[in-house]
């Protein structure tokens, strides 16, 4: 595990806490925005009917969307904080691969998505792959 020596070196637990904050906030944000977009319906069809303005309005009048964006913004600032203290080669693979698995779980529980064996296998393969790629 390598750290970026821009200041005081963070300990193991603060590194874990920073990455966990990114993972939890982005999972909450992604599940909420996905739920919002599912409730809105196909944006391409909305745009075909009522133009780009209609599609933008459909998104911006959905309260779930803003709740999702709030958590995604939290995840963004948690990521900036983590990148300021830890190496990208640690933060990116750790948060990306963990988020894939937490999202598969959250997608099954909260969005009732059909996470079949094929999708589980994909989540695990991509998770290990991202780790190897960015490690």
């Amino acid at each position: 595990m390598t750290y970026h020596f821009t200041g005081a070196q963070p300990g193991l637990w603060s590194a874990v806490a920073m990455i966990a904050a990114v993972v939890l906030a982005s999972t909450a944000g992604e599940v909420l925005t996905a739920a919002a977009m599912k409730s809105i319906g196909d944006l391409d069809e909305i745009r075909a009917h009522s133009g780009l303005g209609g599609a933008v309005r459909a998104v911006l009048t959905c309260p779930l969307f803003f709740l999702g964006v709030f958590f995604l913004a939290l995840a963004f600032f948690a990521l900036l904080l983590a990148l300021n203290h830890l190496d990208l080669s640690l933060v990116a693979p750790a948060s990306a691969s963990l988020t894939l698995v937490t999202n598969a779980i959250a997608g099954k529980i909260f969005l009732k998505e059909n996470v079949d064996r094929r999708r589980w296998a994909a989540a695990v393969l991509v998770c290990v792959g991202v780790y190897l790629l960015a490690h």
């Binding site: 821009t6 977009m37 196909d42 059909n114 996470v115 695990v124």
Partner: protein, 150 residues
């Protein structure tokens, strides 16, 4: 298992999702590692970071990512769209290898193979779970998950 029929336009949107996210993250990383250490005591310094060039470029790319990501989520499952984002890492690694001539270790090639396998798994399946309309119905079985053909 029937095949999902995504239109070329929908593939283009998935490609934008895949490309903009890793490129944006790379810009953010360049910008943030160049900055002095920021502690929790000075959260406003994080806001000031938004106005530096690399972070600004990263945010512009991430806005492109977000709008195409939202569009993709409006016609596909979250657990279908997310592996597409991860596929972007493969594209960036291949760009680094063949365009920037960076060496790729054996581990990275293994990572590329695993991600590609995972994405091809998902791409063969249906892109969207059909939900039963009344909330009181039991969860859909695998057989009831139908392809949303377009």
């Amino acid at each position: 298992m029937p095949h999902p029929t995504l239109s070329p336009r929908q593939y283009l949107i998935l490609a934008l999702v895949a490309l903009c996210a890793p490129l944006g993250d790379t810009c953010l990383s360049r910008g943030m590692t160049a900055m002095p250490s920021i502690g929790l005591a000075h959260p406003l310094a994080l806001v000031a970071a938004v106005f530096t060039p690399w972070i600004g470029a990263g945010i512009a790319l991430l806005i492109g990512f977000f709008s195409s990501y939202l569009t993709a989520l409006s016609w596909a499952d979250l657990t279908f769209v997310l592996p597409a984002t991860a596929f972007g890492n493969v594209i960036v690694a291949l760009l680094a290898r063949f365009w920037l001539k960076e060496p790729i270790s054996l581990e990275r090639w293994a990572g590329i193979v695993l991600i590609t396998l995972g994405v091809s798994f998902v791409a063969q399946g249906p892109s969207r779970t059909e939900q039963p309309v009344p909330a009181t119905e039991p969860a859909p079985s695998q057989e009831s998950a139908k392809v949303r053909a377009r």
